[in-house]
Amino acid sequence: MLGIVVGVAAVVCMISIGAGAQAEVSEKIRTLGANLLLVLPGAQNSNGAKLQAGTQPTLTEEDAAAIRRELADVQVAAPLLSRPMPLVAANKNWVTLVAGINADYLVAREWQVVDGRSFTDEEVASGAKVAIVGSVIVEELFDGRAGVGETLRIGNVPFTVIGVLDKKGLGAAGRSQDDVVFIPLLTAKSRVVGAVRGTTREALDFVSVKVSDAAAMSETQQEIEALLRQRHRIRGDAPSDFRIENPADVLTARGAAVRLLGILLIAVASVSLVVGGISVMNIMLVSVTERTREIGLRMAVGASRRDIRWQFLIEALILALLGGLVGAVLGAAAAVAIAWEAGWPILISPWAVVLACGFSGLIGISFGVYPAHRAARLDPIEALRFA
C-alpha cells in the first residue's frame, strides 16, 4: 500500500518536474533567439593564475566586423559592451545594466521594438545620445507611461529614449532580461563605459553571432575559431584567447540533467510500485484467509467461483486505486513544494495523474489475480468449517 503511494507520488512528481524543465528550456531557447553563438573574450593568464573571463581586451569590434564579413553563414555578428550604471529620470533613480550595441544585436536576439524605433546607422556611427529601454525600465522610471521622448540620465550624461522593447521575461541566469538599457556602442565606449578609469576602450563583453542556418551551427563555430586565431596570431596548439558558446546547448544540457533525475525517479517509482503490488497481494491473501467463512457462506448461498473471483479482484483494484490517488495527491504536493523551495518550474499535467493512477490500478489487478484465484478455489465445506 505504502509502496503504491510512494511509487505513484514519485511518478507524478517526476513528470511534473520534467515537464516544467522541458517547458522552461524551450521557453528560454525561444527568448534567446534561434541559432545563436556567443563569442567571449578569454581570461588573462597572469603568472599562472587564470583571471576571470573578459579581463583581457582580446575581443574587439573589428573581430565582430571580420566575422560578419568573412563567413558566409553568419547573418549578423553583434558586439556588446555593458556595465551596471545608475539611471536618473525626473525624480526617480534605478541601477541597471547599460549595454552598448549596434542595431544588429536586436536582430540577433530577435528582439522587437514595440514603441518608438531602433537605432539608425547614423546614430550608431556618430555615437548619438539615444537609448532603447526594456519594459522593466519603463515600469521603474516612467511609471509605465510610454517612455519614448523622455530624458534619461546615465551616470551624468543625458540620453533621449527613442524606443521601448518587447517583453522577454527571465533569462537563463534567472535575471529579468527586460531590466536593460541599450545605447549605441560608440556612445558606450566614449561616454559611459569608456569614461570609467582603467577600462580599455576596445574590449567587448561578447559578440552575438546569428547563424542563418541551424545545420551550419557547428561548422560556423569552427570557422569563427579559425578566423579569430588567425586574427589574434595564435600559432600551433597554443590556447585560444577567446571561447565560443552555444547557449542553446547549455540550456539543453540542463534539461537533459533534469531528465536524468527523472529517469532515476522512475527507477525508484517502479521498484516502489512492484513492492506496492506485492503488499496489495499480501493484504488480499490475509483478507482471503480471514474471510474464509464468508467465502464459504457466499458459495453456499449460490455465489459461483467467478462471483468470488470478481469480488476479490475488485477489492484489490480499489485498494490499489486508493493508494494511487493518495500518491497522486502527495506527488503533486511534493512537486509544488519543490517548485517553492528550489525555484524549479513545474508543470502538473493531468495526464501524469491519470497515467499513474491507471498504472496503480493495473498493478492492483495483476497482483490481485492470485489471491482472488485462491479465494475462488476454496472448498465451501472446508471454508464453512473454518473457525
Binding site: G296, A300, V301, G302, L384
Partner: protein, 238 residues
C-alpha cells in the same frame, strides 16, 4: 408424482491421515415434496456429509443423485452454484452472517447472486424477515442480535429465494433449549407452509419434532421411523 430428490447408493470418503474414512457409504433415499425429515446419528456417523452431498456442496465419489428429476452429480461447478442459489436454502449450526452487513442485507445476499433487481430484492428480504418474526430488526447489525435472532435471520436468508429444499445442519446446536424450541416451532410453521425440510441433529428430542427420522450409523442408514406414508427408503448393500 415425481419425488423431490432421490439418491441411489451414494458414497463419499475422506483421507484422514493414513486411512480413508467412508463418511457416507451407499445411501439410497427418496424424499417427496413437503416432507420434514430429520437425519440423526452420533457425531461421525456421516450425517453432515450426507447433508452436504444433498446440498450440492460436495460431489459423491459414487452413486446417483437426482434433484427434481435432474441428475446433478456430473453438473459443472457453475451449474451447481446456480442450482444451489435457486433450489436450496442452507441453515448452519453456527449462525453464519456477514458481520459488516445489516440483517436485511444478509437476507438479500442470495438474491444478489441470483441477479434479482434491487427494489424487488428489498421487498422479498423484508417478507422473509417478517416470516421469521424479525420484521422490525432489519437494520440491526448481526452483533446487535441475540443467538436465536441471528439464527432466525439465517432461516430468513434460507427461504428468501423460495427454495424447494431447506437443509439445516444442527440448527439448534448452539442455542439454549427455549430458543431451540422457538426455532423448531418456526420449522414446523415452514413445514405447514408446504416447504420441504431436511434437518441434521444428534439430539433425539429435536429429531422427534420432524415428521420422519432417519438414523445413520457409520455412513449407513440404520433405521427409518416416522409417520410419512409416502416415504420409501432403502439401504442398498455395497
Amino acid at each position: 408424482m415425481q419425488p423431490l430428490l432421490q439418491t441411489v447408493g451414494i458414497s463419499k470418503s475422506y483421507p484422514s491421515g493414513e486411512t480413508i474414512i467412508r463418511a457416507v457409504s451407499g445411501v439410497s433415499l427418496l424424499i417427496n415434496h413437503g416432507e420434514f425429515v430429520a437425519i440423526r446419528g452420533r457425531s461421525g456417523s456421516g450425517k453432515s456429509t450426507l447433508l452436504n452431498l444433498l446440498g450440492l456442496l460436495e460431489r459423491p465419489d459414487s452413486g446417483e443423485y437426482s434433484l427434481q428429476g435432474q441428475a446433478v452429480a456430473e453438473l459443472s461447478e457453475d451449474k451447481r452454484a446456480a442450482l444451489r442459489r435457486q433450489a436450496i436454502g442452507f441453515i448452519f449450526q453456527l449462525p453464519v452472517l456477514l458481520p459488516r452487513a445489516t440483517a436485511l442485507e444478509n437476507v438479500e445476499l442470495p438474491l444478489i447472486y441470483a441477479g434479482v433487481p434491487r427494489s424487488k430484492r428489498r421487498r422479498r428480504a423484508k417478507d422473509a424477515l417478517d416470516r421469521v418474526g424479525l420484521a422490525n430488526r432489519g437494520h440491526h447489525w448481526p452483533s446487535q442480535l441475540s443467538g436465536g435472532e441471528q439464527q432466525r435471520v439465517v432461516i430468513a436468508r434460507a427461504i428468501v429465494n423460495d427454495p424447494v429444499l431447506i437443509l439445516a445442519d444442527e440448527p439448534t446446536g448452539a442455542l439454549d433449549s427455549r430458543t431451540s424450541d422457538e426455532i423448531l416451532s418456526l420449522f414446523e410453521g415452514l413445514h405447514r407452509d408446504g416447504r420441504t425440510i431436511i434437518m441434521v441433529t444428534h439430539a433425539t428430542n429435536v429429531a422427534d419434532r420432524a415428521q420422519c427420522q432417519i438414523t445413520l450409523h457409520d455412513g449407513r442408514i440404520l433405521k427409518v421411523e416416522g409417520t410419512s406414508a409416502q416415504n420409501s427408503l432403502a439401504d442398498f448393500p455395497e
